[in-house]
């Protein structure tokens, strides 16, 4: 079952749901809006090997807006620290965001119960789009669980701001064949580091 907006508000007041800071104006009929914080991360390597720690550039989202180029990818985050030890949160774009062609996650919408922190947005824009700090970009719904609860204690717990993928820490990599690349971005990738307030796209890529 999904919680209604008034029930989300009630559960925030009883501390079963965390939304900090909490603005009652952000409550919808069955979700609560999340606003965009003022920095995003972009990966520097042109090819990602998940077995290797990826280097990122931190880019500010200025008051005059950050241009996301079509088919570009970066990580943003919610200003709000959110989570719950009693309900399962799920991230969605606001319909207004989606109507502008922006994905706020690329299929990883489910948050673990017990995970408390800023939500990392997986921003993938299909059109050129300016995003602004503080804009309502996403929404969070809350779902009632069935069964005994074991709280999340994973590697993204307590995130502040966008967190890059920490998949390289997974222990099962040792059990798989195949070679990882040496750690760190290549010199070629470093020279491709962003210089302006824009997130570059698929343009010029080998398709």
């Amino acid at each position: 079952m999904i919680l209604s907006g008034p029930e989300i508000k009630r559960q925030i007041e009883t501390a079963a749901i965390t939304v900090t800071p909490f603005d009652p104006d952000l409550i919808n009929p069955n979700s609560i809006d999340l606003t965009l914080d003022d920095k995003v991360l972009r990966y520097l390597n042109s090819i990602i090997d998940p077995r290797v720690e990826q280097q990122v550039a931190e880019i500010e989202v200025p008051p005059e807006g950050l241009l996301l180029e079509p088919l570009s990818f970066c990580l943003g985050s919610s200003r709000e620290i959110v989570g719950s030890n009693e309900f399962v949160p799920m991230v969605h774009a606001k319909s207004s965001t989606a109507r502008a062609g922006l994905f706020v996650h690329v299929t990883a919408d489910l948050i673990d119960i017990g995970s408390i922190g800023c939500i990392t947005f997986q921003l993938f824009s299909t059109l050129p789009l300016l995003v602004y700090p503080g804009m309502r970009i996403a929404q969070l719904s809350f779902w009632k669980p069935q069964g005994e609860i074991n709280l999340y204690s994973g590697k993204y717990q307590g995130s502040t701001g966008p967190r890059k993928s920490m998949i390289f820490l997974d222990r099962y990599w040792e059990t798989l064949p195949g070679a990882g690349e040496p750690a760190g971005p290549s010199a070629a990738a470093m020279s491709d580091a962003p210089t302006g307030q824009r997130i570059s796209s698929w343009k010029g890529a080998d398709h």
């Binding site: 990602i48 299929t107 995970s115 099962y172």
Partner: protein, 180 residues
Amino acid sequence: MILTGEAITEAVECGDIVIDPFDPARVNPNSCNYRLGSEVVRVEVARDPKLAAVQQRLEPVDGRFLLRKGRFYLGHTLERIGSTRYVTSLIGRSSIGRLGLFVQLSADLGHCGAVHRWTLELLPTIDIYVYPGQVIGQVSFWSTTGDVAAYQGWYGRHDLPMASKLHTDLADHPDIRGLR
């Protein structure tokens, strides 16, 4: 209601949920991780859904596949997954989403009753290596209300990446049949 990890484990033990092979270490607070299976195909031409898509099987190099941004691939789960009692929802894991890889394209809802290796819709937004056997996504399970009419359809019978069968649906569609 969404099942907690504990409830998923119990349901696997009593046979209400199939996750095969099952490893309790892959159970999360409200989902269970699955791994990428060994076969990945690139969908090259799917312009007209009245015709079958052209797809090409990729060969792994050094135990991995290089997926290019903007290209579209189908993979499959290593595990056979499903339930005749609960509804399965399949998504990418956050560690993969944070790397810009779509693992399904807005078709996350499975049918109650379908138990098989699930086809994954892989769309990278950045060039990325994927490794057969790596943990790539997670499934959650939801309880239902009302009578359950289990899925008997085509896709549920297959364990390898299955191309879209839109063309066979459209061939029988009265408004479209004559246009071929």
